[in-house]
C-alpha cells in the first residue's frame, strides 16, 4: 500500500444508499461504495449539508427541525459491512448434524430445507394443535409475527414486549394508555417528545439513561447542544458513563434497584414544604389515589415517614442531596425527566417507573412544553412527520388470528414447564398463571420455535431455561448469519440470513424490515434501502423463503399473491417495481404532493426523504391538549391515577382477568402493589437475601458496539474498539485479589462464566456490570451449572432469573442478577 499514491477511490466505484436495518431505532444513512460488485467502504451521510462538519450549531431561535440534519452512523454502521464477507458466515441452508447446542451442521439444498420446514409445520400443528407454533421476534404487543399464521391457521401471540413491560403496564395504570400500543392504536407515540423539546426545559434529568451510548447521532447530539446552551443536566445512575462525562453537570451515583426510594423521599419533601404544583395536581390527579399515596409517603399509613433520611441508607444518596435535588426539581419547571427502560427491567421495577410518572405529575411537568411524561423509554419519537409510502401486498383476509396466550418473553418458561402440566404435577390454572395467561384460557403447547434473525437464546433472562426449552420442543428453525450464535446452535434447520441493508430485497411482505425504513414512528424521514451487492452463496431474502414454504402449504396466493410465481432471478427487480409503485402512489397524496417530493428516478440518486417538521416541538399529549381532549380519558377517574383500583383487587382477580379487558394481558397471581412503593428484598435486587451468598448486583447495560447481541462477533469492533469485561469497583476487586485485565470467574446458582475484569472507580461499590449482548460461547469444560460448556465470552443472561413470584409477571424482564466473583486461576 503506497501512500504516495494516496488514493482509495477508483473510477470503477459506484455508490448506493441504505440504512442498517437491525433493531436500532436511529436508522442512519449509510453511503456505500461498491467496486466490482464488492462493498469497499461505508462513508458519511452526504444527503444533506454535504461536507459540513458541524451543522446548525446554536442557531438563533433554537435548533431547528431534527429532520434536517445528517444522520450519522455510529461505529456499528461503519463496521457492519465487513460481516458480509466473514468466512464464518452461513451462506447455504443447513441441517443439524449433532445434538442441539453442539453447533454442528451440514449443508442441504433449499428444496430439502423448505420441504422439511413445511412438513414439520403440518406435523406439529396436527399433533399439538394450533397453539404450538411460536415465531420471534415480535410475537408481542398482542400479535404473532409468524408470517403464515393467518392462513396456515396456527400460531401463538404474546402480550407485552420483551423490554418494556415494566414501563408499559404502569403507563396504562397511571395514564390510561401506553407508549407502544399508542403507536399501534393511535398512530403516534402519545407519551413521548420531539428531541427538540428539551430546549424548552430548565432542567434535564437522565435517570439511568446513557443516551450517547445508545443513540448518539441525534439524541446525544441534541443533548450536547442543550448542555452547551446552559441547560443544567443531572445524571442519576450507578455508573459514570460517557453520557455523564459529556452531558452532565453532576453525577448522582445511586444503587440499582433502589431508585424508587429516592423518588418517594423527593415527594416527601414536596408534600412537607408545599412544593407541588397544586393547580395542576388539583386539575389532573385523581385525589383519592393521591391521598393514599401521600399517606404512604408521609408515614401516616404505616408509621414510617419516608424522608430523605429514610431513603439515604437504602439508595446511597445523602439525604441533603435528595432534599436539595427535590427543591431544585420543584422550582425548575419545565423539567425534562427521562427514565430508562432498565429501571423497569428488574424485580418491582414497575414501582420506580410509575413513581417517575408521579414526580412529573406532582410538579406539573407531565404535558407542558419542555416537560415529559417520564416513562417514554428515554427515546424521543415525537410526532410523525408525514405518511410513509406503504406497499399494498394484497394479502388475503385473515382466516386465523393467533390468540394471546402468554406474556411474550415467557415462552421459554411455557415450554420448560409444559411437561409438568402434561404429567399432572401442576394444574392448567397454575401453568397459565406462571406464563401470564388468563387462568381459564387454553394453555399454549409450543412445540415448534422459529427464531428469525434474532437471538432470543442469548437475550432473554434465565438463559439456561431458554436453552432447556430449545432442547425440549419438537422442531427448531433459526435464520442467522452465524452458526456460532447462541440461538443458531440450537437449530434443527439453520437458514442463512440476508443483510437486508445491503444484499437485497426483503420486501417486508407482512413482516419485518421493509425497504422504506425510518426511525420507528419518528417519521421525520425515511430511507429507501438500495441493493448494494448480490448476497454470497445461496443466501435468499426472508420473504422469498416464506413464499416457498407457503407454496408447499397451499397458501401462497393468500400470503404473497403479488410474488407467488416470481422466480428468484426476478425477485429483486419485481420488488423494486412494487416499491416504486408505492412511492408513486404516496407522492400523489395531497399532503405529500404539497412537499414537492422528487420523482422516483431522482429520488434514487439520494433516496432519503426528510419531512420539514414545522411548528413547536411535540411534548407528551400535545395533540390532545390542542384538540381540547382529556389526555387521561382512558383511566377510570379520567385523571392521572397514583393508585390502581384494578390492581387493588388482588391476586385472585389478577389471575382470572385481563388488564384491561380484551387485551389478552393477564398478570398472573402474585402481589402487585396498587401504588408505587419501596419493597426490599426482591429477587436479584440489592437487598435480596440471596446477596448473602452472591453479594454483587450485576446490571447488564446496552453496549455501543452491539445492537442487543448483533455484531458481538464482529472482528473489527471486538479487536479494535472494546474489551468485553466485567466492570468491578476498586473495593470489590481488591477484596478478591483481582487487578484489571485478570481473568475472573463470575457465577451464581444458575450460571457461570470466565471473563476479564475492568477495575474502575466508575461504578457504585457492591455492583458490577457486564454489557448486554455478549454471546454465550462455550469454551473449556462443562460443569454442573453449564452442561453445554462454561461461558468463555460473557453473556449476562446466564445470571438473570426469569422468575416472578411473589410478584406478578409484569415488571420482570430482569436485566439484573446477583453474582459472586473470584479470581480465575485455571486455564482458559
Amino acid at each position: 500500500m503506497s501512500q504516495s499514491a494516496c488514493g482509495t477511490q477508483s473510477s470503477r466505484d459506484v455508490f448506493r444508499y441504505t440504512s442498517c436495518g437491525f433493531h436500532c431505532f436511529d436508522q442512519c444513512v449509510l453511503k456505500v461504495r461498491v467496486r466490482d460488485g464488492r462493498i469497499v467502504s461505508v462513508e458519511p451521510d452526504d444527503t444533506i449539508h454535504p461536507g459540513v462538519a458541524r451543522e446548525g450549531e446554536h442557531p438563533p431561535g433554537g435548533l431547528g427541525s431534527t429532520a434536517m440534519v445528517q444522520y450519522r452512523p455510529c461505529a456499528k454502521g461503519y463496521a457492519m459491512v465487513r460481516e458480509i464477507y466473514d468466512p464464518r458466515r452461513v451462506i447455504y441452508p443447513m441441517r443439524r448434524a449433532g445434538k442441539r447446542g453442539e453447533g454442528k451442521f451440514e449443508r442441504i439444498s433449499w428444496d430439502e430445507a423448505l420441504d422439511t420446514i413445511a412438513r414439520k409445520l403440518v406435523e406439529v400443528k396436527e399433533k399439538y394443535g394450533p397453539y404450538s407454533i411460536l415465531h420471534q421476534p415480535y410475537s408481542f404487543l398482542g400479535q404473532s409475527s409468524f408470517p403464515l399464521a393467518p392462513w396456515f391457521g396456527a400460531g401463538v401471540a404474546g402480550w407485552g414486549a420483551h423490554s418494556t413491560n415494566g414501563f408499559q403496564e404502569p403507563q396504562n395504570w397511571v395514564y390510561g394508555k401506553d407508549l407502544l400500543e399508542g403507536m399501534l392504536r393511535f398512530g403516534h407515540f402519545a407519551l413521548t417528545q420531539d428531541e427538540t423539546n428539551i430546549f424548552k426545559s430548565n432542567l434535564i434529568v437522565l435517570w439511568g439513561l446513557n443516551p450517547v451510548s445508545l443513540m448518539s447521532s441525534r439524541v446525544g447530539h441534541n443533548l450536547l447542544q442543550a448542555r452547551e446552551r446552559g441547560i443544567p443536566i443531572i445524571c442519576i445512575e450507578p455508573r459514570y458513563t460517557p453520557s455523564v462525562e459529556v452531558l452532565a453537570d453532576q453525577w448522582i451515583p445511586i444503587r440499582p434497584t433502589t431508585d424508587v426510594a429516592m423518588m418517594i423521599a423527593m415527594a416527601n419533601v414536596w408534600f412537607k414544604e408545599d412544593l407541588c404544583d397544586n393547580d395542576f395536581v388539583e386539575k389532573w390527579v385523581d385525589p383519592e389515589g393521591l391521598a393514599k399515596w401521600k399517606a404512604y409517603v408521609l408515614g401516616t399509613a404505616d408509621g414510617v415517614d419516608k424522608t430523605p433520611g429514610w431513603a439515604e441508607p437504602l439508595c446511597g444518596v445523602p439525604a441533603e442531596t435528595i432534599r436539595e435535588f427535590a427543591r431544585l426539581y420543584a422550582r425548575s419547571k419545565p423539567v425534562n425527566l427521562s427514565v430508562s427502560l432498565s429501571m423497569g427491567r428488574q424485580f418491582y421495577g414497575e414501582n420506580a417507573t410509575r413513581a417517575s410518572m408521579y414526580l412529573q405529575a406532582l410538579t406539573g411537568n407531565t404535558f407542558i412544553p419542555g416537560g415529559t411524561a417520564a416513562a417514554e423509554l428515554g427515546l424521543w419519537w415525537g410526532r410523525t412527520g408525514g405518511a410513509l409510502p406503504v406497499v399494498d401486498w394484497q394479502q388475503a383476509d385473515w382466516e386465523y388470528v393467533a390468540p394471546v396466550l402468554l406474556a411474550m418473553y415467557k415462552w421459554p418458561r411455557a415450554v420448560d414447564l409444559r411437561e409438568k402440566l402434561d404429567a399432572g404435577e401442576i394444574s392448567t390454572e397454575e401453568y397459565n398463571n406462571l406464563i401470564g395467561n388468563r387462568a381459564d384460557n387454553p394453555p399454549p403447547h409450543i412445540q415448534l420455535v422459529i427464531l428469525e434473525s434474532n437471538n432470543h437464546v442469548n437475550n432473554l433472562p434465565g438463559m439456561n431455561q431458554t436453552i432447556r426449552a430449545m432442547k425440549k420442543v419438537a422442531f427448531t428453525l433459526v435464520f442467522s448469519q452465524f452458526a456460532g450464535s447462541p440461538s443458531a446452535r440450537y437449530a434443527d434447520i439453520l437458514l442463512p440470513q440476508i443483510y437486508s441493508a445491503y444484499e437485497g430485497r426483503n420486501g417486508g411482505c407482512g413482516l419485518l424490515w421493509p425497504l422504506f425504513t425510518t426511525t420507528i414512528n419518528l417519521g421525520s424521514h425515511f430511507i429507501y434501502r438500495q441493493k448494494c451487492i448480490d448476497p454470497p452463496g445461496e443466501v435468499r431474502p426472508n420473504d422469498w423463503v416464506w413464499t416457498q414454504i407457503a407454496r408447499r402449504l397451499g397458501i401462497v396466493e393468500k400470503y404473497n399473491p403479488r410474488m407467488a410465481d416470481v422466480p428468484y432471478e426476478k425477485w429483486d427487480e419485481t420488488i423494486e417495481e412494487i416499491y416504486r409503485e408505492a412511492y408513486d402512489t404516496w407522492a400523489k397524496r395531497d399532503d405529500i404532493a404539497a412537499l414537492n417530493p422528487p420523482g422516483w428516478e431522482e429520488f434514487q440518486k439520494k433516496p432519503v426523504f426528510r419531512f420539514p417538521l414545522e411548528g413547536d416541538p411535540y411534548y407528551p399529549f400535545k395533540h390532545e391538549v390542542e384538540a381540547g381532549l382529556n389526555p387521561f380519558a382512558g383511566t377510570a377517574s379520567g385523571k392521572i391515577e397514583f393508585y390502581s383500583k384494578v390492581l387493588a383487587q388482588g391476586p385472585e382477580y389478577l389471575r382470572t382477568h385481563e388488564v384491561p379487558p380484551g387485551s389478552g394481558k393477564c398478570y398472573g397471581a402474585g402481589n402487585l402493589p396498587p401504588m408505587a412503593q419501596m419493597t426490599l428484598g426482591g429477587k436479584d435486587t440489592f437487598y435480596s437475601e440471596d446477596a448473602a451468598k452472591y453479594p454483587l448486583l450485576m446490571s447488564s447495560p446496552h453496549s455501543y458496539y452491539r445492537v442487543h447481541s448483533w455484531l458481538d462477533n464482529s472482528p473489527l469492533l471486538r479487536n479494535d474498539c472494546y474489551r468485553h469485561a466485567v466492570w468491578m469497583n476498586v473495593a470489590d476487586a481488591k477484596a478478591r485479589g483481582v487487578k484489571d485485565n485478570d481473568l475472573v470467574r463470575v457465577y451464581n446458582d444458575i450460571g457461570e462464566m470466565i471473563i476479564r475484569a475492568y477495575v474502575t472507580s466508575r461504578i457504585v461499590p457492591g455492583t458490577v456490570a457486564i454489557h448486554h449482548g455478549g454471546w454465550y460461547l462455550p469454551q473449556g469444560g462443562t460443569s454442573a451449572l453449564m452442561p453445554d460448556g462454561v461461558d468463555g465470552r460473557g453473556a449476562p443472561n446466564l445470571f438473570t432469573h426469569e422468575e416472578d413470584l411473589p410478584n406478578t409477571v409484569v415488571g420482570t424482564f430482569p436485566c439484573k442478577g446477583l453474582v459472586q466473583i473470584e479470581k480465575w486461576r485455571g486455564a482458559r
Binding site: V212, S243, P253, Y704, L717, D720, C721, K734, R762
Partner: protein
C-alpha cells in the same frame, strides 16, 4: 513551503470515546484489523469513586508544522506536501526502521504488526479526499460533531488557539496542526458530600457491609485500575490495541 496549512479542531468536551471516527477511517482506507490504526482514541479515568472523570484523547496524525518524523527518517520517505500541509509517507521508500515512530511524540506512525519488516503508515489527512474538495472522513463521521477541519488559521479564528490538552505532549515541540477545546469543568447543581456517600455505600444492613473502610475505595495501587493514565507510545502491537480499546461493550 506550505501554501495553506490545514488542520483539525477537536472538541474534547464532546468526545465520548465511541471510536466511530476510528472505524470510519479504517473503513474508508480499507485498513486491516489490528494496530494499523491511523486514528487512535484513548479513554482513561482519574480520581476515585465518586469523584471520577473520564478523559478522552483523539490522536490521528496532527501533520505538524515541524514534523519530527520527517526529520528522523533516514530514507527520506516522509515529506510535507505543499498544498494542504499534509505529512505523507512514501512506503516504497520506507525501510521499516521505525525511527519515525520513536521521534513522533504522538505515536502517529503505525504498523501492521510487530514484525520488523513492516512499513510505516499513518493518517494521510485524507489527502485524496482533499484533492476532491472533501473533508477527512473522521471529521464527517463523528456522531457528536466533535470535529472540524479547515485552514488552521480559520479554525483558530472560530475556536481559539488552544493547542495543548492535559496529558498531551507539549505542542511547542512539533507544532501540531490542530486546535482544541478542552473538556469542561463540572459544576455541582446540588450539594453532595462524597465522604458521607461513601459511608452510606459501605453498608447494606442487615446484610454484611459492602466494604469496610473508605481507603478500600480511595486508595488505588498503581496496577489495580488498568486505564488510569494516558499512554500513547507503545512497546508492542498488543499494547497499542489494549490501550486503544475501551470498556463500553
Amino acid at each position: 513551503m506550505t501554501q495553506t496549512q490545514y488542520g483539525f479542531f477537536f472538541d474534547q468536551s464532546r468526545c465520548t470515546g465511541c471510536q466511530t471516527c476510528s472505524v470510519a477511517c479504517k473503513s474508508y482506507h480499507e485498513l486491516p484489523l489490528g494496530p494499523l490504526k491511523y486514528l487512535r482514541v484513548y479513554q482513561y479515568e482519574k480520581g476515585s469513586f465518586p469523584d471520577v472523570r473520564l478523559h478522552l484523547q483523539w490522536i490521528p496524525c496532527y501533520h505538524c508544522q515541524s514534523p519530527a518524523c520527517a526529520e528522523a527518517c533516514p530514507a527520506e520517505a516522509i515529506h510535507k506536501e505543499a498544498r494542504f500541509g499534509a505529512v505523507l509517507i512514501d512506503s516504497q521508500k520506507c525501510n521499516g526502521c521505525r525511527l519515525c515512530y520513536d521521534a513522533c511524540p504522538y505515536g502517529a506512525p503505525v504498523f501492521e504488526s510487530d514484525d520488523p519488516t513492516c512499513k510505516a503508515h499513518k493518517c494521510t489527512l485524507c489527502f485524496d479526499r482533499l484533492q476532491q474538495g472533501e473533508k477527512p472522513v473522521c471529521v464527517l463521521a463523528c456522531p457528536l460533531r466533535a470535529l472540524d477541519f479547515g485552514p488552521l488559521t480559520d479554525l483558530m479564528k472560530t475556536y481559539g488557539r488552544l493547542q495543548d490538552l492535559e496529558d498531551l505532549p507539549d505542542s511547542r515541540t512539533t507544532k501540531p496542526s490542530v486546535v482544541f477545546k478542552a473538556r469542561r469543568e463540572k459544576r455541582r447543581l446540588v450539594p453532595y458530600d462524597p465522604e458521607k456517600a461513601l459511608r452510606l455505600f459501605m453498608r447494606r444492613d442487615p446484610l454484611p457491609p459492602v466494604f469496610t473502610s473508605l481507603s478500600d475505595i480511595t486508595e488505588i495501587p498503581d496496577d489495580l485500575v488498568g486505564r488510569s493514565r494516558l499512554v500513547i507510545k507503545h512497546a508492542s502491537a498488543e499494547d497499542l490495541l489494549h490501550r486503544t480499546r475501551n470498556d463500553e461493550g
